[in-house]
């Protein structure tokens, strides 16, 4: 392998360039806007290009075959594919190159779909010209690529599942059954999650806990699963295959010998609302979360126990326990665990409708939520399964369900919560099953019965006499004598205003991301979508992967979904994790930093900015060096070196400068150069494309792994070349995929602004913008604003600014 590389390095020197360019029509996706034949023709004339072709689908088997046969036939030593985003098909084309004997790092892609045809749909000429220039830039960079070998590291054959709801349970069991050790980390006292709280499931009306409990106990006794309840993730370090996770395991104050006989619970004098029962009943400070809890052991809620701060003021539970299992001296522990993969299945919170004051939740006792209803109708619940209304414990004769509470609304969650329609239909049938004479009204906007068996259930509810009224009430009034509720609203299908008197109102509340989901998001470098759910690596093709290698998503943490979808996704996530663990090793992209010991003066500035402490050395040694296995390839160290001693593999100074120069080879004054980090901003620009959000065609996006790689020298170079404006964009502060490396970005841009100020160059020509992967609209908005600013500048002014910058550099170099 090493020899191959050396041979290829020799064969592919600049003198002997043989580049093949492939312009993809992507059906009409690119071809409908960009004249691809013209682009290919243009590419043919570029230096080093020996073949240039356009094809309908380059990613198709014939498309790939074409590339492979050309590599062999024309002896190609570089391949440029102009098609969709490299975030989608770079692996495909790299594999194609490799199978034809070309090092995969000799492939370069020009993104002419997400960054061109889709965002300039109606500007065929401008899009075609832009595509040509993007291909020029790609060809220029390709000429400077060098072959690389990827480092292989072993994968720890252990997994961690965070969150013990049904998704976490399924994922843990699947991986454990495949033979891998699994740590299942659950924050509360028992696994089970939301599913344990629900009475029946839709559309089959199975008893929820009856089908969940066997899985829960299987987790409890599985030899490969280590269940960590009352536990939370504190710190995560490392990377795919080799994560180190610090888990805070809170004290249970009860030893493992507990038989959950309940004697201690009866003795406890402290009462508090029972979370599992949605606050409808009370529990003691020492308690079992619920009857089927796993582990089936009591625990003490120290916030409610009288024995705070280690002082034993009450020992009734201790006295009551025959086995002496109560241990007030128990303390929180921090566990240091090593795992190869992580599955995130943290679930969701339920929307709290209190802010919607017009509905009276929290004020009128007979207005309850669907979660409270689930507990009320559950045989194990506070009313023993009797449907009673809270105000007088009488059975309601007329019940209303209100749909879309907290969903599809800019006042709460903008998205559809997916489960509420079917949940309500199921609930209405449950009432009909037990008390058929109950009148049930469902007030809805749209009934979304899209899944297998859903429409049948909807039909059944209508046949059973459930009344569906289109138009949700605007307001609820409580009758002072009867506690009945009057619903005011409009029946939109009849066009009439209604007033219905009801005994009980059930608000079909939506689900939302966990309130503290940002904590795990930062610990694991995950992205979130605009709704706050964790974002998948690709919405269609990598639906359970995240942008952090080795971390997978399962269940509603990724987006509102029902039990079946959660379980499906959990098995998918487990399967993805199993692949990694069974392979046992993983390759690390060859994008690490390299230090030239001859140029290095051992000043150590680079080591100070490295987010991973991956640079070591000292004055005595005479130079610093990069620890390759620890380097994550952000490139933040490179711009810090004043002596040009560091460079980043595959994102070299030379490669990127060539992209800048080529982007500015025609009409530079009219151009915007946008540096975009791979994880957020480049993905955000891709998302603008996917969403077809249109923006001006004069922007040229250059990808770096992290915005920390963006060197002030590049910005300077662009301004010397008379660029119109420069955008530096990266992840939002604290969302950086490289441990806050983007703080260096901000610092460097600010310093450049000060230089611009001194030289009286309009500061607005350099913009810093944080754009996340979900913010396509924001990316387009920034470009539009910059374009507007650009239109106010004359080419003459831009030229004069460049002159002044040149002068200042001359002066600087003349100084001793």
């Amino acid at each position: 392998m090493k020899d191959d590389i050396n041979k290829q390095r020799k064969d592919t020197g600049p003198g002997s360039l043989r580049i093949g360019v492939y312009v993809c029509h992507c059906g009409k996706n690119i071809g409908g806007t960009v004249r691809c034949e013209e682009v290919a023709e243009h590419a043919e004339g570029l230096p080093g290009v020996v073949v240039a072709k356009d094809s309908l689908y380059t990613c198709s088997e014939p498309g790939q075959e074409q590339i492979k046969s050309d590599i062999r036939e024309h002896n190609l030593n570089r391949v440029v594919v102009a098609s969709c985003t490299p975030r989608l098909h770079e692996p495909t084309f790299r594999a194609a190159c490799q199978s034809a004997g070309l090092n995969p790092y000799l492939l370069e892609m020009a993104n002419i779909r997400e960054h061109c045809s889709w965002v300039h749909l109606h500007e065929k000429d401008a899009a075609t010209e832009k595509a040509k220039e993007l291909v020029e830039m790609a060809v220029g960079r390709a000429a400077r690529l060098t072959p690389q070998i990827e480092l292989t590291v072993p994968v720890t054959r252990k997994a961690m599942v965070i969150g013990g709801g049904v998704a976490g349970i399924q994922a843990a069991l699947d991986m454990a059954d495949a033979g891998y050790k699994v740590y299942l980390v659950e924050r509360s006292g028992s696994i089970g999650g939301r599913m344990a709280q629900i009475d029946k499931t839709f559309p089959t009306m199975d008893c929820s806990i009856c089908i969940l409990a066997p899985k829960m106990s299987e987790v409890g006794r599985h030899p490969n699963i280590e269940l960590l309840t009352l536990s939370e993730i504190q710190e995560v370090s490392g990377h795919i295959g080799n994560f180190r996770v610090k888990v805070l395991k809170r004290a249970r104050y009860v030893t493992d010998e507990c038989t959950s006989c309940g004697d201690c619970i009866e003795a406890c004098p402290q009462l508090t609302p029972d979370e599992f029962e949605a606050g409808l009943s009370i529990r003691r400070a020492i308690y079992i979360p619920f009857a089927q809890a796993v582990p089936s052991k009591v625990l003490i809620d120290m916030d409610k126990c009288l024995n705070t701060q280690g002082i034993v003021a009450c020992d009734r539970c201790f006295q009551a326990c025959e086995h002496k299992c109560i241990d007030f001296a128990d303390r929180d522990k921090v566990l240091d665990l090593e795992v190869g993969t992580i599955v995130v299945s943290t679930g969701v919170d339920v929307y709290d409708p209190t802010p919607l004051t017009e509905l009276g939740y929290g004020k009128f006792p007979n207005v309850i939520t669907t979660l409270e209803f689930e507990r009320l109708i559950n045989a194990g619940g506070p009313s023993g399964g009797e449907l009673i209304r809270p105000s007088d414990r009488k059975r309601p004769r007329k019940v209303a369900f209100l749909q879309c509470i907290g969903s599809r609304s800019k006042r709460s969650n903008p998205y559809c919560s997916n489960v509420c329609c079917m949940n309500t239909i199921k609930d209405s049938l449950l009432i009909k099953e037990h008390w058929p004479e109950t009148e049930i009204f469902v007030f809805y906007i749209d009934i979304r019965a899209f899944g297998k068996g859903f429409e049948d259930l909807f039909m059944r509810a209508r046949r059973e006499g459930v009344t569906f009224i289109r138009g949700v009430p605007g307001e609820i009034i409580e009758d002072i004598d009867t506690d009945n509720l009057t619903l005011l609203g409009e029946n939109t299908l009849l066009g009439t205003h209604y007033r219905y008197s009801m005994d009980m109102v059930i608000l079909s509340v939506g689900i939302r991301p966990r309130e503290d989901s940002h904590v795990l998001q930062r610990l694991l470098n995950l992205s979130t979508d605009t709704d706050g759910f964790y974002m998948e690596a690709h919405p269609k093709l990598r639906p359970v992967d995240t942008t952090t290698g080795g971390v997978f998503l399962a269940g509603a943490a990724e987006g509102a979904k029902d039990i079946k979808d959660s379980v499906t996704q959990a098995s998918a996530a487990a399967s993805r994790a199993n692949i990694l663990m069974s392979r046992g090793e993983v390759t690390i992209p060859a994008i690490t930093a390299k230090i030239d010991p001859d140029k290095c003066t051992a000043c150590g500035v680079c080591a100070a900015v490295c987010p991973y402490h991956a640079i070591e050395g000292d004055k005595e040694l005479g130079h610093y060096r990069v620890i390759e296995a620890a380097c994550q390839g952000c490139g933040t160290c490179v711009p810090e070196c004043r002596f040009g001693a560091i460079d980043q593999t595959h994102f070299t100074e030379e490669q990127i400068v060539s992209q800048i120069d080529l982007a500015l080879s025609h009409e530079p004054q009219n151009k915007i150069i946008a540096f975009a980090c791979n994880w957020c901003s480049y993905a955000g620009a891709d998302f603008a494309g996917v969403s077809r959000i249109q923006y001006p065609a004069n922007v040229r996006i250059i990808r770096t792994m992290c915005s920390g790689r963006v060197s002030p020298k590049w910005i300077e170079r662009a301004f010397l070349k008379e660029v119109g404006a420069v955008l530096v964009s990266g992840c939002h502060p604290a969302d950086c995929h490289y441990n806050n490396a983007n703080r260096q970005t901000a610092r460097r841009v600010e310093r450049f602004w000060r230089r611009m100020e001194k030289l009286a160059i309009n500061k607005e020509r350099l913009r810093l913008a944080w754009v996340s992967a979900a913010e396509g609209a924001q990316f387009a908005h920034v470009i539009k604003e910059m374009e507007e600013g650009l239109r106010k500048l004359s080419p003459e002014k831009i030229r004069r600014d460049a002159e002044r910058l040149k002068e200042s550099l001359k002066k600087k170099s003349n100084q001793p």
Partner: protein
């Protein structure tokens, strides 16, 4: 007489945000006691039939201007801005309730929206000085310049 450009007051795109949940009309007090169109149907009519048709309808004026529709709107559509724009446009076409045009005329002529007999005596009863004169000329001039006469003669 010039027609009013409704979409200068209210962005047309906001209409598309409406998914007809009817929380607005469900909360509307006018809808409870009078044959009003209601905000939901007003938006739907603008979308499906065009606002020209809406401004011809005198039921457009059955409204408390209480803004509760906007307050309850899950999509935060500035409904009351739309209703103001539609009524301004309706008034230009002569669709304006008599009581309202009379009130506007009085305001334009006197600078105040009401008059009573024996005002000074009434104020004196409460130990108050007579009310100073309203700046009638100035008001009239301002209202001429804003072209109120295109809608209500005064």
């Amino acid at each position: 007489m010039t027609t009013l450009r409704i979409w200068k007051f209210f962005s047309r795109e906001d209409l598309y945000e409406c998914y007809q949940c009817a929380r607005c009309t469900g909360s509307c007090p006018a809808m409870e006691v009078a044959p009003a169109i209601g905000p939901r149907e007003t938006i739907l009519r603008c979308l499906n039939l065009g606002h020209q048709q809406v401004v011809e309808d005198e039921r457009l004026w059955l409204c408390c201007t209480c803004h509760v529709c906007e307050d309850r709107c899950p999509q935060k559509i500035p409904i009351t801005d739309l209703l103001v724009a539609l009524r301004n446009s309706a008034a230009r076409r002569g669709n304006i309730p008599d009581r309202l045009s009379m009130a506007i005329e009085l305001l334009a002529k006197t600078g105040r929206s009401m008059i009573v007999h024996q005002l000074d005596e009434m104020r004196a009863h409460h130990g108050l000085a007579p009310l100073g004169p309203a700046p009638v000329e100035e008001i009239r001039d301002i209202l001429e310049k804003t072209k109120l006469d295109e809608v209500v003669e005064f």
